[in-house]
């Protein structure tokens, strides 16, 4: 693993029966960098995200993570308590559907404060202050801090999920189609919010999306996947504007421009 990478995977392979989900996938991620993984359904991009984040184990290959103290951890052989602790602190995972991550029966403040409480925060006032501060950062009015997510719109729920994830200042966030389920009019503001938060907080992101426009807006680098393999990888605007691989050219040319 190179000296400066945050996350490094080599030779990841995984198949479901006869279907190859991942075939010899390599990936590197540097601190503060946004890497988009794009592809169509069945490309393996979501599987890759799940493997990199330790939620699924590959059949072969290795994924290394460099902790803040510089120690390298093998994501797939880490003891479960350590991996779960990592997911609660240094890592984050933003689901496509915010309702899969939020506690719908818990107030917005409680949702945002949960990771702090899980890490041992025991001062109600300070937890609430931190929650309010984060609601502000994701542009949710602070008067909603005691409201249930059920009363929020889809876009607000997603922003709440982002606040809940970023409250512990993770260095690495995995995002699975973060704007996937949202109305088009809502997506743009959310994308802009994600872009500015990620840049300001210097967070590294692995972002799975089928939408090339989202990749172009958010990512420094892009990986194009087809049937479990990485067919092209590089600077985002270069891969999208000057695609080299036949599949990438097909993908780029297929996008409808409004």
């Amino acid at each position: 693993m190179r000296e400066d990478t945050l996350l490094s995977a080599r030779g990841l392979s995984l198949h479901f029966g006869n279907i190859p989900a991942l075939v010899e996938v390599d990936a590197d991620l540097w601190p503060g960098e946004v890497l988009a993984v794009v592809g169509e359904s069945g490309s393996g991009k979501t599987t890759l995200l799940n493997v990199l984040s330790g939620r699924m184990a590959p059949h072969s290959g290795v994924t290394w993570y460099r902790a803040p103290d510089g120690v390298l951890h093998d994501v797939h052989t880490m003891p479960m308590p350590a991996l779960r602790a990592l997911h609660r602190s240094d890592w984050g995972f933003v689901q496509q559907n915010p309702r899969d991550s939020l506690r719908m029966g818990t107030t917005a403040g409680g949702n945002v404060g949960e990771r702090l409480m899980a890490q041992g925060s025991r001062h109600y006032g300070r937890i609430r202050e931190a929650a309010i501060d984060w609601l502000r950062q994701v542009e949710i009015d602070e008067s909603r801090v005691d409201d249930l997510p059920r009363t929020f719109s889809g876009g607000m729920q997603q922003r709440l999920q982002i606040a809940r994830t970023l409250v512990t200042n993770p260095r690495l966030v995995f995002m699975d189609e973060p704007t996937g389920g949202l109305d088009v009019s809502v997506q743009a503001r959310l994308l802009d919010l994600i872009r500015s938060l990620v840049a300001r907080l210097d967070i590294a992101v692995v972002l799975v999306t089928h939408d090339l426009a989202v990749a172009r807006l958010l990512a420094h680098r892009i990986m194009v996947m087809q049937r479990g393999r990485v067919v092209e990888t590089g600077l985002t605007d270069q891969v999208l504007d000057d695609p080299q691989h036949p599949y990438t050219q097909l993908l780029v040319s297929s996008v409808l421009h409004a």
Binding site: T107, G113, E114, R122, R128
Partner: protein
């Protein structure tokens, strides 16, 4: 009593339960599964507590049984008589004279000593049950000490009510490691769990779980630094004995709104009255 083993349960069953109890004492606050037996009373009536009591009772023991603090309610009377008949042990209503105390939902006011065992009847041993429906997941949470969800619940209470709105079965941390349900004792009783000289055993028959707090173990009720745990009690003195520091029952005395507040712990109240203490109601009656 003819046809029954000492204290009803066969020796192999007692051995199995004692093994579970040893494990429970070795890991304070951690729930141990056990082979809960068919007992001659339904689930929800104290089968867990009875099985634990049956397993620790010896011929020389003196047994006290209370239900919501009272020795004279139907269930307390029934269980006490059950053991009198199947074990032939001496029984008492006097806390200080008992060596084994089985209780439903209260801890006696009298301080317990290191030669005593208190057995709690537990309906729901899992403190996270209302927050996490999956038992597999709650087991994982206990294994990994991931108790954030419980603190979220307390946070929500403070947000909604300004204080933690748990008046009984208030969750505690045992030995700084396991989150435990102390059974539906009033929050008022929680401080008694901490560093108690007596051995505390908990039995849940329907859920098939046993857990324990060894003597002199640290037990802390969950709270926030700026919302510390506080006990509450009705701001009255016992109408019978005048006590101002015991947990009170509120008794409706007539259909005109008349109320009597009296000690929930009948033995405590009686002892005080025998010693000459008199409450306002008694005084009014004179």
């Amino acid at each position: 009593m003819k046809g029954y083993n000492f204290a009803y349960l066969d020796e192999q069953t007692k051995r199995m339960i004692r093994r579970a109890l040893l494990k429970a004492v070795a890991i304070p606050g951690h729930q141990i599964p056990f082979g809960s037996r068919e007992m001659p009373l339904p689930y929800g009536w104290g089968t867990g507590g009875i099985q634990v009591t049956a397993s620790v009772l010896g011929e020389a023991d003196v047994l006290k049984v209370i239900d919501q603090g009272a020795d004279d309610t139907t269930n307390a009377v029934s269980i006490r008589r059950f053991f009198a008949r199947t074990a032939g042990v001496a029984t008492t209503t006097h806390t200080e004279d008992a060596t084994v105390i089985q209780t439903r939902h209260r801890i006696p006011e009298a301080k317990l000593g290191h030669n005593q065992i208190i057995v709690y009847q537990v309906p729901q041993p899992e403190p996270l049950s209302k927050l996490e429906p999956s038992r597999a997941e709650t087991r994982r949470m206990h294994a990994l000490a991931e108790y954030g969800a419980m603190h979220v619940k307390l946070y929500e209470d403070i947000t909604r009510y300004g204080h933690v709105a748990i008046s009984y079965d208030y969750p505690v941390m045992v030995g700084g490691r396991y989150l435990m349900s102390p059974s539906p004792i009033p929050a008022f009783d929680n401080p008694k769990l901490h560093m108690m000289p007596a051995l505390q055993l908990f039995g849940a028959g329907r859920e098939s779980r046993i857990y324990a707090i060894p003597p002199y173990t640290a037990v802390h009720s969950l709270d926030f630094e700026d919302h510390p745990f506080r006990t509450t009690r009705a701001p009255h003195a016992c109408g019978l004995c005048g006590a101002t520091n015991s947990y009170l029952d509120e008794v409706v005395t007539d259909d005109r709104g008349g109320r009597l507040f009296c000690c929930s712990d009948t033995d405590f109240c009686e002892t005080r009255r025998d010693a000459g203490h008199v409450g306002a109601t008694e005084m009014a009656a004179e």
